[in-house]
């Protein structure tokens, strides 16, 4: 048989390619659910790490199932909010439903072009609230989770991940625990022009809403800085309304009679309207 004729070549390549495609489609179909489960467990473990429930290695040690169980036990509510802090959806906490990285990417586009948002807010039973951030690093996307205390300002922890930043340089946003550790105790200051800064050359002494950038990774640090500020701005009203509710509850608690409560209520409504 002439293996060099045109007809033979075309038929041969067609058969090989179709066969290979069929094998790949079959395998992808079979393994897809397992891969999705791994990705979900990874996301959940990142959220839990940010919220301060344990170090990242801990979740890898106890395995996917235990990680998800822990999340289900400790989640209070997981909702979707828009830019005006209105609840526009719900994530099933009892099934540990979380936003995947690709969903964050989609929301990131929506933030940029001003379309309607559905941003996830993970509220844990210990009053810690976690929200994601997403943006562009040097070689690919960077994302992460920031956990704030019940004053909606003070950061209790953060976790960051990336697709392809340079190991030892930009990769430190994920691999260097001391970079992440800086975030705990800092605040998100929405009254500042920039609610949070990652400063090259070191954060100024006493500045509560800034951390040091990663040495040798200026672009990654800048990207992460932009990601945090873009997403914090999108969550701005959610954080502010949380603060307003806190202030209201505090004021009501101080009241001694019903007229005082009424006054507080009226005042709060007035500020909300403003």
């Amino acid at each position: 048989m002439n293996t060099n004729s045109n007809a033979y070549t075309v038929i041969y390549t067609t058969i090989v390619v179709v066969l290979v495609a069929a094998i790949l489609a079959f395998v992808s179909q079979k393994l897809g659910p397992m891969q999705a489960a791994n990705e979900k467990a990874e996301t959940v473990s990142q959220i839990l790490t940010a919220a301060g429930f344990g170090e990242k290695e801990h979740w890898a040690e106890i395995g996917n199932k235990a990680t998800l169980d822990f999340y289900k036990e400790n989640i209070e509510s997981s909702i979707l909010v828009d830019i005006d802090a209105q609840q526009v959806g719900n994530l099933d906490g009892s099934a540990a439903q979380v936003y995947s990285t690709s969903q964050l990417k989609a929301q990131n586009y929506n933030i940029k072009d001003g379309s309607s948002l559905q941003l996830p807010v993970y509220q844990f039973k210990n009053k810690v609230m976690v929200f994601p951030v997403y943006g562009a690093g040097l070689w690919g996307p960077v994302w992460g989770y920031i956990a704030v205390a019940d004053d909606f300002k003070t950061i209790v922890g953060a976790y960051f991940d990336h697709e392809g930043e340079t190991p030892g340089l930009g990769g430190k946003i994920k691999d260097d625990p001391s970079f992440r550790a800086q975030f705990a105790g800092k605040v998100i200051d929405l009254s500042d022009e920039k609610p949070f800064s990652i400063v090259k050359g070191g954060a100024p002494e006493g500045k509560a809403n800034a951390v040091d950038a990663v040495t040798g990774a200026t672009m990654t640090s800048k990207g992460l800085d932009a990601a945090i500020n873009t997403w914090v701005a999108a969550y701005g009203k959610t954080l502010l309304s949380g603060e307003a509710v806190n202030a209201f509850v505090e004021a009501v608690n101080e009241c001694t009679d019903t007229t005082a409560v009424k006054e507080v209520l009226e005042e709060t409504l007035k500020t909300v309207e403003e």
């Binding site: 390549t13 094998i23 395998v27 393994l31």
Partner: protein, 207 residues
């Protein structure tokens, strides 16, 4: 049988893909920061070279000569994607696959795979081709593991993620070497390995 033994041993020593043929350097710089990653990469490459050589050898009499590189590439990509999919699917390997990121996918472009198919599998029977493929993968993997051993030990003070350099030494002022983590050091280390290999095996030295 003696021939088969030679087929197996040559890629490990005298024809080692990295130290003698100097192929697959790029990925060996990238994935040798940690032993765990290097081990998974070594196994993945071994599986890919073995199976690709086997399949291409089985097809060797039917492949149209004009498109043989493309057919080989299709076979190699199939194996690589399969390996990647399986690594992603299992809980134990998911994190490692994540840390190796693009380098698993880039096995497709690893010169060792195509090189062995072109140089060996297309002219030999399936079983010797399988042996040659596996041995080439192992020859590559062995160097990867040696490099990763030094890089993880000096760069992070750990082996397979376990701390081996005692805390007392850190307290006494010892610090992990940051240069070791970066790719240039892998190149220096590879150079040293090639140097040692050549001084032991006199046949490799140019006259």
């Amino acid at each position: 049988m003696g021939n088969l033994k030679e087929t197996f041993v040559t890629p490990l020593l005298k024809g080692n893909p990295i130290t003698v043929l100097v192929l697959g350097i790029c990925s060996s710089l990238a994935v040798t920061v940690e032993l765990k990653g290097a081990l998974v990469m070594a196994l993945s490459v071994t599986i890919v070279t073995g199976l690709s050589s086997l399949v291409c050898s089985l097809l060797r009499n039917t492949i149209p000569n004009r498109v043989r590189i493309i057919i080989q590439l299709v076979v190699v990509s199939l194996m690589v994607i399969l390996v990647d999919q399986f690594l992603k699917a299992f809980e134990a390997t998911y994190a490692i696959d994540k840390s190796l990121s693009v380098y698993i996918g880039l096995i497709i472009t690893n010169c060792i795979v195509m090189g062995r198919i072109e140089a060996f599998a297309l002219g030999n029977k399936p079983f010797p081709s399988l042996v040659d493929g596996i041995a080439s993968g192992m020859g590559y993997g062995a160097i990867l593991i040696i490099v990763a051993f030094f890089r993880e030990l000096l760069g992070s003070g750990t082996l397979f993620g376990l701390q081996v350099i005692p805390q007392a030494l850190y307290d006494a002022g010892y610090v992990n070497n940051g240069l070791v983590i970066l790719p240039p050091f892998a190149l220096i280390l590879l150079g040293c390995i090639i140097w040692v290999h050549r001084s032991i095996d006199k046949e490799l030295q140019e006259k």
